[in-house]
Symmetry: C2
Subunit: 130 residues, 2 copies
């Protein structure tokens, strides 16, 4: 599976840097940032290029937030390309787990795994003395 | 309330950049990155400095992942400082919402708000035709 992290600004680049610091260099994982000066058309072309180059292989696009441009562009492209799946709200615990599964899973398997195990990866530290 | 985003590598810097691209420059929000060359002691000193400078004001530390060094350091400091609260698994939808609430909320209020509304901010795009 090919994975693309897509975000407004530098989140995509930053989270990939954190991931690689923790579990090492990743293969077949890329990031694309939608910056203030970018047009929706240019960003669409960048994601489309990744899809074209994947040669029919499953592609999972990890987006920052539902409803933002990176998500909207990815969702539209997933409707035109049956091998594309789009996840929004990515955080580091999800990204680490997905990275460890991606080389042996299809999109359908990752989707089931994430839905069952990775949608509750945020919370508060609870001090037992407070 | 003072907020600090704390992560391994460049996630903290990257997500703050994305946030400010979407909702503008933030006051009283900082980021700290734990890099490969940093010691736990140095990172602890950086977070402690933020706590000292907050002058008793509530501090919310937004961490990348439970069990990582930024989280562990923050959790330990929150046990010694009653005005410090620690959230892990931060993503962009949570950060945007917290940024909009932080100037008028206490830690207790933010904690209740996040627990009630912001722990399910990730999911998949569902194509109605698939």
């Amino acid at each position: 599976m090919k994975t693309i992290i897509a975000s407004h600004g530098d989140l995509a680049k930053g989270i990939m840097n954190s991931l690689e610091m923790i579990i090492g260099k990743q293969k077949d994982m890329y990031f694309e940032s939608f910056q203030t000066q970018d047009s929706i058309e240019t960003f669409t072309e960048k994601i489309q290029k990744h899809i074209d180059e994947a040669d029919g292989k499953d592609i999972l696009i990890l987006c920052d937030i539902m409803g933002g441009t990176p998500y909207n562009v990815s969702a539209l492209l997933s409707m035109k390309n049956k091998n594309v799946c789009v996840l929004y709200g990515i955080n580091l615990p999800m990204l680490i787990e997905i990275s460890m599964q991606k080389d042996t899973c299809t999109n359908a398997q990752i989707k089931e795994y994430v839905n069952s195990n990775l949608l509750n990866t945020a919370g508060f530290f609870e001090d037992p003395n407070k």
